[in-house]
Symmetry: C2
Subunit: 199 residues, 2 copies
Amino acid sequence: MGRRNTHTREELREIALQAAEELVQAQGLSGLSARKVVNRIGYTVGSLYMIFNNIDDLIVQMNERTLDRLYGMLSAAVADQPPPATAIRALAQAYISFALTETQCWLAIYQHRLPKGEAVPDSFTEKVTRMFELVQQQLTLLCPRRRPEEVALAARALWSGIHGVCILGFDQKLEAVGGRSIQEVTEWLLDNYLTGFTQ
Amino acid sequence: MGRRNTHTREELREIALQAAEELVQAQGLSGLSARKVVNRIGYTVGSLYMIFNNIDDLIVQMNERTLDRLYGMLSAAVADQPPPATAIRALAQAYISFALTETQCWLAIYQHRLPKGEAVPDSFTEKVTRMFELVQQQLTLLCPRRRPEEVALAARALWSGIHGVCILGFDQKLEAVGGRSIQEVTEWLLDNYLTGFTQ
DNA sequence: ACCTGAACACCGTTCAAGT
DNA sequence: ACCTGAACACCGTTCAAGT
């Protein structure tokens, strides 16, 4: 056995991450395993450790790809430079829309937890920051005279709020009594928050 | 072997759930396993299935106990019937305070996902609803003339927002750049949202 | 009736051995 | 250098066998 060389390291990484995404989208993060991934791409389990340090490393890299796709959606939503109040709503709706279409991959970002003491790589943090700045930019345009720290705080509160609506909206355990859609709840949160903020 | 009868069924359930909570608080939900639980209480793994249908059942029952403690904290925070605007802030701070002191048990409520197709028992849903109504009550007092559906929507948006701040605040992966505390971000969200809502 | 412990099908990870 | 597959220490779950 050994030595097939049908794929380069980079190709192997690519097809492994693709297989992982398919598994997660079909069965959720808990349906992912090293053995299932290699089974899907025609390798044996040992070969996965040529490419990834461990299964957490694979998941983090998969999540970074999800963040890339999410960032693409968000930046496309404000590419035509609408007025900031419109842009903020467009960002929120794009976030929801991504969560609705790529639910399991989106959930995996928040479900996955590194072992205690381990931190996510810098590349991951940068992708989060980049996404966050998209919101901050629009809030700065909306209120150009506010202090940057205030805008940063406002962006964090707002984005956390939208995320909270999404995450609870998808959690059937916590599905509130009234059957309002995630979009409606988000619109409501945004309207009241922005009214308060811009006042 | 067999037949020790040192504990009643109910006692066994109690010490198993206690052991589970200790394990989760020490090592997080992923540090929980059936074998670790029984090891801690001096039984063997098979005996766990006399009491619980499976490990998910055990986790759901553990989470219900966490919801009970959380409800206790929240209702205590508004027991002296402060004015509604104060009460809402007190509820938010009590939620944060619970998340800060019982972080791992609180997180377990949201981390745990039943296998596809399975639903949480009614007793669980009731505990969530009961907690939710605490917020709704205060919003009703704050705006007695609004329609009930509007208040329900407002409560859901608000509570989702507060939860979002908490959950992202604890996720070091997404820890925003500016080092604001969860309390500060929540206060900010609340202030702006309530300003918009009561206007 | 209660409880054990072996058995089964999984898991992540390592590593000697093969090409 | 690349890849395998057995090995190890874990998992959840079942169930015949013991008291």
